[in-house]
Amino acid sequence: MIKSAKIKIAIASGKGGTGKTLISTNLFYVLQQQNINATLVDCDAEEPNDLMFFNGEKRKSFEVTQKVPVIDDNKCTFCGKCYDYCNYNAIFILPPAKIIKVIEDLCHGCGACTVVCKFNAISEKDVSLGTVTRFLITEHTSIIEARMKIGVFSPVFVIKAAIKEAGNDGIIILDSPPGTSCPFIHTVVRADYVILITEPTPFGLSDLKQSVETLKTMNKTYGVIINRAGLGDNTVYEYLNQENIPLLMEIPFDKTIASHYSKGELLSEFQPELKAQFISMFNLIVEKYGNSSN
């Protein structure tokens, strides 16, 4: 059943460091062991780390680009129209001094300036926002990594390209960027099911609530994994109960888990009971939400 499944599952959390990478990589590993056709997309484009846990063979890599205007000083009449049309303050103009400049870091590549220039003074060039790379891990599994360039205004375009590269076949795990801002939304919007990772602490609860509110407005189905169970307090459990949110799994806090993880070792390799739990959780999700069309 799980072998023929087609589903996108996003692994997300309101803030970083709750164990999103730990869970994404272990889920992926468990699927890999079962010979299931699976792809892990590392959408945490600011700091992609998933690949560190596997040995992959690079198969494909491409740059994700956006257009940025190039202004020809000889044709420009300094009419200022492009400056008016730019909604991101990316054009600097000083007509008396005949100075016009594009501030590339602020440009979103919307094309408005090119559209409005009546003097044909604007052409466009491509600039890189980051790369998407596909690594083959085993015969049936691969990791696609989205990697943003430092200082780029948003990782969203690189993330979108990486998810697109994953296609629609098999089980696709999306390791989402942390938070609930734009990059998170653009990742989970493509998912059939969202697994939220949290810690049983006041910080964890506050971040979880914000994620849940956001997913509610997006009409997504979701469940929660509590990581580092045993540390902290009961308020997260109370909240889940009260809101009727399924608790999918608990991963106990254990210094040895943390220390294995720090070495880049996969938990499910030496903790068979966790592996069994991952598999049954998967079966449950696929049974209920699989084979949809996102």
Binding site: G17, E46, N49, K67, Q210
Partner: protein, 287 residues
């Protein structure tokens, strides 16, 4: 003096250390610039003295009574936000980047831009001084603009109240909000963990701080989870002349402090961790 606490990746204990710095003794201004996951207010429960609406972006909205369904906007939008759905043009709120081009070119002026006005900046008082923090509404682009507004406000509050030290709890990552957080501060403290990705994340973060020529310090948190990796981090730091201000062991007390809505300094001032953090702070502020 502005001290920014940042980390390449979330979950390194950045917030706990910022909170400890903010409660060491002298009164401070605490600026929570981790606007996507603002947490400091949970620990410190500040009073709300001021609230300011932050307009992060705009979204395009179609007035169908004016729309002739000509499809021009669909062709012009570079963000693929407009498409025909059931023979009617529709704008996806998620994909719209707010560039306004569609609204400008629509022949019938059927598209208007609406402000996204759900994000907020707050300022108030907490038990060890003043606090400024922001909350980004879900789905907003975390562009660093809100971070700039918080920092400006924090500076103003620090002048008005004669509080010389501003502690900034920064966002994780290497994007635009991080750059806004650290530009022009006196000290950057990077919190790192000895994990498989720790050193790599740290290097990427140092790449940014060195671009801006900032006085940078490193704190290795939970160093005893992997002593070997911690040593590699130390070696790397000394090779590029960056001081490790502290090596802090793992202690469940830090989480316990959080559960009690306290910093570790407040919960357990005489613990080893509290001492290490105090020493680090003295080193940084005198350095």
């Amino acid at each position: 003096m502005e001290i920014a606490v940042i980390s390449g990746k979330g979950g390194t204990g950045k917030s706990s250390i910022s909170a400890a710095f903010a409660t060491l003794s002298e009164k401070v201004v605490l600026a929570d610039c981790d606007v996507d996951a603002a947490n400091m207010y949970i620990l410190f429960n500040p009073t709300h003295e001021e609230e300011q609406v932050y307009i992060g972006s705009q979204k395009a909205v179609i007035y169908y009574s004016l729309c002739t369904n000509c499809g021009l906007c669909v062709d012009y939008c570079r963000f693929n936000a407009i498409s025909f759905i059931n023979n009617k043009v529709e704008i996806s709120e998620i994909s719209c980047d707010g560039c306004k081009l569609c609204s400008r070119i629509c022949p019938t002026k059927a598209i208007t831009m609406v402000d996204s006005d759900k994000s907020r900046m707050y300022s108030g008082t907490f038990r060890n001084g003043k606090m400024v923090y922001g909350r980004l509404a879900p789905g907003e682009e975390n562009s660093g603009k809100l971070v700039n507004i918080i920092r400006d406000k924090a500076k103003k509050v620090s002048k008005e109240n004669n509080l010389n030290t501003i502690i900034i709890d920064g966002p994780p990552g290497i994007g635009c909000p991080v750059i806004s957080t650290i530009t022009g501060v006196n000290h950057v403290v990077i919190i790192t963990e000895p994990t498989i990705s720790g050193l790599h994340d740290l290097k990427r973060t140092i790449e940014i701080t060195s671009k801006f020529n900032l006085k940078t310090w490193v704190i290795i948190n939970k160093y005893d989870l992997n002593v070997e990796k911690a040593y590699q981090i130390e070696k790397y730091c000394s090779s590029i002349n960056i001081k490790v201000a502290a090596k802090i062991p793992f202690d469940a007390k830090v989480v316990e402090a959080m559960v009690h809505c306290k910093s570790i300094i407040e919960l357990n001032p005489s613990s080893e961790i509290s001492h290490l953090i105090k020493n680090a702070y003295t080193l940084i502020t005198n350095g």
